[in-house]
Symmetry: D2
């Protein structure tokens, strides 16, 4: 399997030479356990290392009884030595961890997929501003690829480092991609770039497995609120992504982004309001979106006027989009749903891994959503 | 008590002459039982008649055990005779019921508060279009008063018929009232009227106590979706209300309104996006809102940048508003929360009744929100 | 594939001769859609017929958008002709439907798995008492096999008709099986048979996809209650099952069974209180249970004193058991969890189908539970 | 008001001489904020001191926006001086705090109501075993009164220190009180004391407002589990309470108690299984319970066979009981519901305060449950 990786001078990768050897740094959070859920049945990989500073020695199935009988993996302290033997290492850690270990692992021929934000924002000043720390390795950041396969598929195949997108940014970029691609090719504007509004809603697992009062059942249940209105870290990531799609016409500077917290475990819905110009109103956007995404394995364009529900993708890597306009309005309403832990995090990371390893892109991700 | 009502030729109102005699038509739904919750402890009223076509004879506490020990009321078939003896009759019925009974009750000197939509839309063509039936009594509709006390307090005091506002329209109108009042007085526009976007979210009780598959626990729990995007009945009510505030400058024609369903029982949050003009950006809206609502008993303007939660008003008649602008954005974000069954329905109806009866406006509504 | 079924005089079974041809009668309920979830990725079967009286013509993915892209199946009216071409037909229907169609389908060589109660209670008088209808085919009932693989595996392999167990009975029988097997072999009593208490709790999906007021989100959420205390249909099924395990010593006559409704979608936990005799207290029950279930693919005996959570089996066919005794108490506490829609219904039905078809027992059921 | 308290040598109590002056130590938890909810509208008291080590200086309405506009109280560090001026001080603190401050406050004539466990278990060895600390003031413990008004009403009126009962113990004691009273007077046993089983279920708020992983929304939602099966602190409190009712015949030594966690915020349901003797089976328990509780303001005996729901008491101080027996069974099933934060904690504490202060027992507690 390692052959796929053109490992060069590191000929003897992996404990299971026939399988891709995988390590997960920080497996005690929700993206970590979700990676394990997806990878423990993935036919092409073997999870060989699973690290946790606090839980070294604990069998993962003891912490997550849902995994009893499925894996004998135990958390380890996670030395560089053990990780260096892997073909791919996922970082399901807090921000700032991956960038500290990246250079050494790369030197051993390990490929890196970071589910935190270390390799998302290309502008180190932006990174420092929003994450409160300087970037450790601007050169690696420059080399890294933003892991949104529907946009960067080819670059991902050849990448050594992937910055796995944030959950909100995934919905907004994929919800606007066909539109912005048209916009980029059009002589005249199709939408008013300074009028874009994203009203986003996420289940509570998006906040991670952190013991914070505000995330308690008795606080978050039977309740609804906006949060992060003053400024959310996904805001600059969204702007960067949209402007990258637009190309030279970087004009998203007034993008409004308001996230809300929904009393459900998984699921994310973004309601995107696009003010179309008169020319934009004459485009058949439904057709555009269907054409654009026809061959994408994980993007589902629903019929015009559909009302996607988050539960329709629960546990799966599918993202669904529906379009609508209200009578006499120039606003195109784009509704996007995904499972924030799958397409919004761990599933997308596995999709990236599949691309990097030369596997079929859907391998291990053919999961039927759990409904009801 | 009836004296307050200038009962005229109907001298012998009420079974409890010292209290306002109240009837509730259709007490088996959520707004009905909420009216009972509020009125069974209201010091100024006596609930004397409670009707239900299907449950005649059943003690209300048998259907709603939460009321055991609090009331001996039983549902009755609800003859006009019994209702005609009341001072005030609330209609907590499906749309179209109140307008059929209104004329006869008025003739007996009964005042009417309709919690359905019969007396909300002033334009009968609009009513017919959105509710699928012709209006029975356009003259009474013309006479009726839209029961939003913060806007129509004086008219409510003298009204015979109240159209109690819809839940969403209450949040949007109160969330924009100080702004539109300013706009109405300003020579130059303060906001772009054709750019207004309302992204609203409601708990499931807003759909009523109807046995529909989509409202089942197993369908609505752990899920989030938009609904009614093609067109929601509260849309024209919102537009009418906002244009009424604006006065002669009726310009809301492109208002976008997208409601969503939140997996919680009670609670509503509307996120309103107002694109300010340059002049509008120079107004101190926080000050404007605080000044405008200073003396309102049920509107709470929170500090700039606050994040109101629906649970902060659970069970109470309070509506909370918070304002915010994101860096470099011309958009004023207005966040409004209320309990959809209280300020959004039954509580507002009692507030209206208090005004009509000459009671203190907060009488019976001094409820501390239930948190957690 | 049909060869496995020794189809005899019905040589031309199935539209996909290489796969088992499957029909589902009544696919619009929760057990129906759960069967589709499990079978649409099952490598050995092809779902060829899916019937619904009310939804004939509707693509199943239109009713359940979670299945978009996974199946092109549409509901059909479900003639006997089309069903007769299947190898196996599942009935995910209300009680009383399967027994009306069974004889004709059997005549065509079709095997039947009924997820309703028609083939659960062997005593037709009991059936009539609890289900309010006479039994249509006592001879087929006598032939049918109760589909609890851990008890009747061999009989299931050769069966033509399976009565798939109720959800509660599955937890109670598997929670007591090793104990009752010991009891049956012991000269002296190990437990007091007239003291058995089962306090059971189920998620709301157990009630099915029925538009009933009591199952509404606004009624069932943030609430807890017992139900069916006067008498639940699973009560006689449990008694029958336990007595069958005990063999000739049928002594469960005072079994107390109290089900409760939990505000969650899926999941079931039964807390079983077994009063041990002095001899019974000296048995190492943990060892007994572990030994008994060592080779069972879907029964997990957790370490002594564990606290199984329903979410640890969400979406999977695993049932977990934990044992405990409180200090100085003679009562053995047996905690059993399962997903009521999988091991408690559709998953167990597929497990039965696998046995009948000669497939590996876990085929298509290797699902990692969805947590969180 | 202080006159009621015969304050003796402390003549100058309270900032509002006409009202009972109240202090709350530890107002940031759920029982604390619930006390504020109940007391800020209580006509007989003035909350004058509210302490929190961590939040001194913060207005309580900033931490709990549900209280905005209802109170100007701010948390203070809570010196003994300020508390000593109160008539009554509630401790809504972790276990072990009240017993450290009790002696000094008593010396100033302050009465104490402890909502933690310091004054619940009369046996100091038991206290030390279950709470992991020695008792600071056994003499005060001996003097203190267990604050269950339905059992100790007269003693509460004259008490200086109240140990407010735990939530589970309240349901079990009140669920069995009429039965044990009969038992205590009967020559022959009416029930088998060594067969008592309590299967109890609580909403998540019962665990307090603690930032623990297991209490997160994403962990506790859509899930059900038993907990504390090895031993729960309320177990000895229940045994003590039941034996006290029984009087000299202390025989509850094998009581089985299994608590479970329900994904709801508030509410508690205990299902109690009482094995009746033949004599006990001939008693009309429904009549016994109704007679016993006829005059109790907060205990509601529902009709035989009723199914009490936790939401029927949401936010109120009422506890509801229903009885049932299954066909041919000797087991009396007692179902008890309460709001764990009201009758199970803060409401009962206010009920105790009312008794101590000579107020009407229901003062400030006449709250209609919030349903839906």
């Amino acid at each position: 399997m390692s052959a796929t990786f053109q490992a060069g001078s590191t000929p003897d990768k992996g404990l299971h030479p026939e399988k891709l050897s995988v390590g997960i740094v920080g497996g005690t959070g929700y993206t970590g356990v979700e990676l394990i859920r997806l990878l423990c049945r993935h036919p092409g990989v073997s999870v060989d290392v699973l690290t946790s500073r606090t839980e070294a020695g604990t069998p993962v199935a003891q912490m997550f009884p849902s995994l009893r009988g499925l894996t004998n993996l135990a958390f380890s302290a996670g030395t560089t030595d053990s990780l260096a033997k892997c073909d791919v290492v996922f970082f399901a850690t807090p921000h700032g961890v991956a960038m500290k270990q990246a250079r050494e692992l790369l030197a051993h021929g390990v490929k890196i997929i970071d589910l935190a934000a270390d390799f998302r924002l290309k502008d180190t000043a932006q990174f420092e501003r929003w994450y409160g720390m300087p970037h450790d390795c601007p050169d690696l950041l420059a080399e890294s690829v933003y892991g949104l396969p529907e946009i960067n598929r080819e670059a991902i195949r050849g990448a050594r480092i992937i910055g796995n997108p944030g959950c909100y940014p995934t919905t907004v970029q994929l919800g606007l991609l066909p539109l912005l691609k048209q916009q980029a090719q059009s002589k005249n504007p199709l939408m008013q770039l300074n009028q874009l509004i994203v009203d986003a809603k996420s289940g509570v697992s998006g906040a991670g497995r952190k013991a914070e009062t505000g995330l308690l059942f008795s606080e978050a249940s039977d309740n609804f609120k906006a949060y992060g209105v003053k400024g959310h870290r996904h805001h600059p990531e969204i702007t960067q992504g949209l402007n990258q799609i637009l190309g030279s016409h970087k004009q998203f500077e007034q993008l409004v982004f308001v996230p809300h917290l929904v009393p459900m475990i998984r699921g994310m819905l973004s309601t995107i309001y696009v003010t179309l110009t008169e020319q934009g109103q004459n485009v058949d956007w439904q057709q555009q979106f269907e054409d654009y995404y026809r061959d994408e394995p994980f993007v589902d364009v629903m019929p015009w006027g559909s009302l996607p529900e988050t539960r329709s993708v629960r546990g799966s890597n599918t993202l669904r989009i529906a379009l609508q306009r209200q009578e006499s309005s120039s606003v195109l309403i784009v509704l996007v749903v995904q499972d924030n832990l799958v397409k919004g995090a761990a599933g997308q990371a596995v999709q990236n891994m599949n691309l990097m390893a030369g596997f079929p892109e859907s391998m291990g991700l053919e999961i039927v959503p759990l409904l009801p």
